[in-house]
C-alpha cells in the first residue's frame, strides 16, 4: 500500500516538474543557438562548394530562416504542441523519425555502459572496502585513479589500437556489420562485438567513480550498529557484506548514477563519434556543426525527458532499497 502511494507521489511530482523544465530548456536552448555564428544555409552552401544569391535565398526560405527569430520560436513551439518536432534541413527528413531511429542505439549504449560501470564499480569497490588498507585495496586504488584521470575517448582510442588494429578481435566502427544479412545467434554476437568497446570506453570514467563511492560508503556502513548486531548474530560474513553493508551503501551510488545519465549522454557524443556509433550523441554534434537547430532542439528535448524519467526511476529504486526514504 505504502509503496503504491509512494509511486503515485513520485509520478505526480515528476509530471508537475516536467512541463516547465522542458519548456525552459527548449526556450533557453533556442536563444543560445541563435548566438552561434552562421546558419544552416551557410553550412549547406559551404559544403556544396558553390552557391548563388538565388540558392541561398531558396535554402533560407526552405528552412524558414528568412522569418524573424520570434516567429521561428513560435513556429517551433506551435509544432511542438502538436507533437511535431519539425523538419531537418541537413538530413532532409522529419526530426522525430531521425531521433527515433537513433534513440535505441543511444539507449543501448548508455544502459550497457551504465551496467558495466555499476557492475565493475561495485565489485571493485566492495573488494577495496573488504581489504581496506591492504595490498588489493592499494593496487585497485591505482587502477581506479588511472581510470578516473584518463578521458573516455583516449581509453577508446587505445582500445581500438589494441583490439581492432593489433589483434583484430573487435570491430572499431558502427553498431553492426552492414549488409551481412545475419540472423539468430550470429546476429546477436555481431551486435555484441560492436557494442563492447564503445560501452567500455564510455563506462571507464564511471567505473572509477562508483568504485570509490562504494568503497567509502561500505567503510562507513561497517561502523554502524546494525552491522555489529548482524555480526553478533553469527551471520555469514559474506552475507553480512552483501545484504547489510552493500544494500545500504548502494543508496549514494544510485543517487549519483541517476545524475550521471545526463553525463553519459554528454560522453556519448565523443564515444559515438569515435566509434561511428549511430546514436543521438553523434546526431547532436552533427546538428551543431550543421546549425540544424530543429534537430538539436529535438535531441535536447528528448534528452531532458530521458533525464526526468531516469530521476523518477531512481526515486522508485530508492524506495525499494530503503523504504524509510521519502516517507515523511
Amino acid at each position: 500500500m505504502r509503496m503504491g502511494r509512494r509511486i503515485a507521489t513520485t509520478l505526480k511530482r515528476a509530471a508537475i516538474h516536467a512541463g516547465p523544465t522542458v519548456l525552459g530548456i527548449v526556450v533557453l536552448d533556442f536563444f543560445f543557438l541563435q548566438l552561434m555564428p552562421g546558419d544552416a544555409a551557410d553550412v549547406m552552401a559551404t559544403e556544396a562548394g558553390s552557391a548563388s544569391e538565388e540558392t541561398m535565398a531558396a535554402l533560407r526560405h526552405q528552412f524558414g530562416l528568412d522569418q524573424p527569430v520570434l516567429t521561428q520560436l513560435m513556429n517551433f513551439l506551435n509544432h511542438l504542441a502538436h507533437l511535431d518536432l519539425g523538419f531537418s534541413p541537413r538530413f532532409n527528413t522529419s526530426v522525430l523519425d531521425l531521433i527515433l531511429e537513433r534513440l535505441p542505439g543511444t539507449l543501448l549504449l548508455m544502459v550497457t555502459a551504465l551496467g558495466f560501470a555499476l557492475l565493475i564499480g561495485i565489485v571493485l569497490g566492495s573488494v577495496m572496502a573488504a581489504w581496506a588498507g591492504k595490498w588489493p585495496d592499494r593496487l585497485l586504488s591505482i587502477v581506479v585513479l588511472l581510470l578516473y584521470s584518463m578521458p573516455g575517448f583516449w581509453v577508446g582510442l587505445m582500445a581500438i589500437v589494441l583490439f581492432s588494429v593489433k589483434l583484430n578481435w573487435l570491430p572499431n566502427d558502427g553498431s553492426e556489420t552492414i549488409g551481412a544479412h545475419l540472423t539468430g545467434f550470429s546476429f546477436i554476437a555481431d551486435r555484441l562485438s560492436h557494442l563492447v568497446l564503445p560501452a567500455l570506453a564510455l563506462a571507464s570514467f564511471f567505473v572509477a567513480v562508483y568504485a570509490r563511492l562504494v568503497r567509502t560508503s561500505m567503510l562507513e556502513v561497517q561502523r554502524q550498529d546494525f552491522m555489529r548486531t548482524a555480526h553478533a548474530k553469527g551471520l555469514n560474513p559474506f552475507l553480512v557484506q552483501l545484504r547489510h553493508a552493500l544494500r545500504n551503501a548502494l543508496i549514494p551510488v544510485t543517487t549519483v548514477a541517476g545524475m550521471h545519465l545526463g553525463n553519459l549522454l554528454g560522453g556519448a557524443v565523443v564515444v559515438e563519434t569515435l566509434f561511428g556509433w549511430p546514436g543521438m550523441g553523434r546526431l547532436a554534434l552533427e546538428a551543431v556543426l550543421a546549425r540544424d537547430f530543429s534537430v538539436l532542439l529535438g535531441v535536447l528535448l528528448l534528452s531532458s525527458l530521458l533525464v526526468i524519467v531516469a530521476n523518477v526511476a531512481i526515486d522508485l529504486l530508492h524506495a525499494w532499497l530503503d523504504p524509510r526514504i521519502g516517507e515523511a
Partner: protein, 533 residues
C-alpha cells in the same frame, strides 16, 4: 569550327589504352573480372540527398552517380565518352547541341528513358542546381524531336557545357517522378531511382546507404558486384583503422590524415591511386580582404607574396601531396593553366623594402603590424598553413594570430560579415575555369552572404571583360589566351596568393579493381568495379 564526336573505337582507345571498356571487355594487363561480393565504400560525411541534381555537396556527388547517370562520361583528360547519349554534335556557332540517346534504357521502375527526361533534367538543373544555374544559364529550350533525340538550344555559346554532363554534375532524372513537384523536397532524393548500375536499397541515417546490383542494367555484363555499402565514418582515425584492418574497401579525396599516409603505405594490402581525380582540381590560396586596412595596399600584398616559399609549404604542410601553383587555374587544367612562376619570387629583403614603402615601418618592438589569419576548416591542413605563414611573416616583422572557427562561422565571417583580413581558403576549379574560377574574381559576383563568391571584393574591369569574354568564346585558341591574360593580371595584382593544388589519393584494398575508370573516378557510376573473391 564543327565539333562532331563519334565514340569510335580508335578515339576511345587513344586515351584509355589500359582500361577495361563497356561490355565488360578487359584489357590484356588486368586479370579477368570476377562477379559478386560487397564493396564497402568509406565516406567522410553523410549527404542530405542521394540525388545531386539539387546540390553540389561532395557527399551527395559521391553517391548520386551510382543511381542517376549522365548523358556523357569523361576520360582522364576530360574528353567526352558515350554514356546515356551515344552520339553528340555541336553546331559551328556553338549554340545547338544535339544528343542521340541510347535505346532500350530503362529506369529502375521499368519506365523507359527518353528525351523528355533529358529535357526535364536540363531545365531542373538550370532552375535549382547551384552550378547548373550558370552552366545552363544560356539554355533557351530543350527540343525533343523524337524519343531518342534531345536538342539543347542556347542563346549564346557555352564552351564549357560539353564537359558538364557527367552523372554527378548533371544527373538525368526520371521526369515521371519529378513532374509537378519541388525537386529539392521530392522523395526521390531519399530513395532515388535512375538508370544506373545500382539500385537504391536502404539508407540508415547516421550509418550507411546500401546500393544493390541492377540486374536489368543497359550494359549486359555489368555491374559485377552484388552490393555497395556506403558507410559514413566522420572520424579520420576510424577511417585509417578501417583501411588497416580491412573493414573498409575504398575511400577517395585522401580519406585519412596526411600524417597517417606513410604508415598506411607500408601495409601490403592497401593500394594508393591518383587516377580519376581530374574532373575537379582544387587551388589552395591565401585570400586577402581588399577592404582591409593593410591589404588594400598593393605593396603589402606584393611583400607577402615575396615571403611565400610554396615548395617548403607543400613539403611541410601537405607532406608533398600536391603541386605548387601560383595562379588561380590549377596545373591539372593543362589546357588553361599558365605555368610561369609568380612575378614575386622568394625575397625577404624586397618584402621589407615594400613594407617600408607602404608606410608600415618596424616599430620599437620590431613589429610592423599584427593581423588575424582565418582558415577554411574543411580540410585538416588549414591550421598548419596559417602556422607556416605565422613563422614566415614573423621574419619581416608581421605578427599573425591564427584564428579558428567551424564551417558556418567561417562562411559568415568571410562572406557575410566580411570581418577578416586574410584567410586560407580553397576553391574547386572543376572541369572549366568559367565554372570554377570566374566566380572568385568577377566583380559582379561580389555578393555578400554567398559562400565562395568573390570573397576578396576584387574589382578590375579588364579581368571582368576577359572572364565574360571567355565564358562565351567559341574559339578554343582565343579562349585559352583570354585565360592566360587573366592569370597574368591576377598574379601581378595579387588579390590572393595561390599556393598549391592538392593531390588527392584514392585509398583502396588491393582486392578492388577497375574503380576509377573516368575523370571523376569513384564519383562516376562505378559500373565496372569488381572484387577478388
Amino acid at each position: 569550327m564543327t565539333a562532331k564526336f563519334r565514340p569510335t573505337r580508335r578515339a576511345t582507345m587513344a586515351g584509355l589504352s589500359a582500361l577495361a571498356l563497356g561490355g565488360g571487355r578487359a584489357s590484356a594487363q588486368t586479370p579477368a573480372p570476377k562477379k559478386g561480393g560487397t564493396l564497402t565504400f568509406l565516406q567522410n560525411s553523410e549527404p542530405n540527398t542521394l540525388m545531386s541534381g539539387t546540390t553540389t555537396a561532395t557527399s551527395a556527388l559521391t553517391n548520386s552517380g551510382k543511381v542517376a547517370e549522365g548523358l556523357l562520361e569523361y576520360d582522364y583528360d576530360i574528353k567526352p565518352r558515350a554514356a546515356l547519349a551515344t552520339e553528340w554534335s555541336i553546331s559551328p556557332d556553338g549554340k545547338t547541341y544535339t544528343f542521340k540517346l541510347r535505346p532500350n534504357v530503362k529506369f529502375h521502375d521499368g519506365k523507359p528513358f527518353t528525351s523528355a527526361d533529358v529535357a526535364y533534367s536540363i531545365q531542373m538543373l538550370k532552375a535549382v542546381h547551384p552550378r547548373g544555374r550558370n552552366t545552363f544559364a544560356n539554355v533557351t529550350e530543350v527540343k525533343t524531336p523524337d524519343p531518342l533525340t534531345a536538342v539543347i538550344e542556347l542563346s549564346k555559346p557555352a564552351p564549357f557545357l560539353i564537359k558538364a554532363l557527367a552523372a554527378a554534375e548533371s544527373p538525368m532524372v526520371p521526369k515521371h517522378i519529378y513532374d509537378g513537384t519541388d525537386p529539392v523536397t521530392n522523395p526521390n532524393g531519399n530513395a532515388p531511382i535512375g538508370t544506373g548500375p545500382y539500385k537504391f536499397k536502404q539508407w540508415v541515417r547516421g550509418s550507411h546507404v546500401i546500393f544493390e546490383r541492377n540486374p536489368d542494367y543497359w550494359q549486359p555484363d555489368l555491374p559485377r558486384i552484388d552490393q555497395m555499402v556506403c558507410k559514413f565514418v566522420p572520424d579520420p582515425g576510424a577511417r585509417s583503422v578501417a583501411f588497416e584492418n580491412g573493414s573498409g574497401d575504398i575511400g577517395y579525396r585522401t580519406p585519412v590524415a596526411l600524417a597517417d599516409l606513410d604508415r598506411l603505405k607500408k601495409l601490403p594490402h592497401l593500394v594508393f591511386e591518383t587516377d580519376g581525380t581530374s574532373y575537379s582540381y582544387n587551388v589552395s590560396l591565401l585570400q586577402f580582404n581588399l577592404d582591409s586596412q593593410y591589404f588594400k595596399n598593393l605593396k603589402v600584398r606584393q611583400a607577402i607574396a615575396h615571403c611565400v616559399d610554396r615548395a617548403a609549404l607543400l613539403k611541410v604542410v601537405m607532406y608533398g601531396y600536391g603541386v605548387v601553383c601560383s595562379t588561380p587555374i590549377a596545373p591539372g587544367l593543362k589546357e588553361f593553366h599558365d605555368p610561369s612562376p609568380s612575378p614575386y619570387g622568394l625575397d625577404f629583403k624586397k618584402a621589407e623594402q615594400l613594407l617600408d614603402e607602404a608606410g608600415f615601418k618596424r616599430g620599437a618592438d620590431k613589429i610592423r603590424f599584427k593581423f588575424p589569419m582565418d582558415y577554411n576548416p574543411l580540410g585538416d591542413e588549414g591550421r598548419k598553413v596559417c602556422e607556416f605563414m605565422r613563422a614566415t611573416l614573423s621574419r619581416v616583422g608581421i605578427t599573425v594570430e591564427v584564428r579558428s572557427q567551424d564551417l558556418p562561422a567561417f562562411a559568415k565571417r568571410i562572406y557575410t560579415d566580411r570581418d577578416f583580413d586574410c584567410t586560407y581558403n580553397g576553391h574547386s576549379n572543376l572541369f572549366d575555369p568559367t565554372v570554377g574560377v570566374q566566380r572568385v574574381y568577377w566583380s559582379k559576383n561580389f555578393k555578400k552572404g554567398v559562400p565562395f563568391s568573390n570573397g576578396s571584393n576584387y574589382n578590375n574591369p579588364k579581368v571582368d571583360a576577359l572572364l565574360e569574354g571567355a565564358s562565351v568564346e567559341n574559339d578554343p585558341v582565343k579562349r585559352k589566351q583570354m585565360f592566360i591574360d587573366f592569370q597574368k593580371i591576377i598574379m601581378e595584382e595579387v588579390p590572393d596568393i595561390s599556393l598549391f593544388s592538392p593531390l588527392y589519393l584514392t585509398i583502396k584494398n588491393k582486392r578492388v579493381h577497375d574503380d576509377s575508370m573516368t575523370a571523376d573516378g569513384v564519383e562516376s557510376n562505378m559500373a565496372q568495379v569488381w572484387l577478388d573473391s
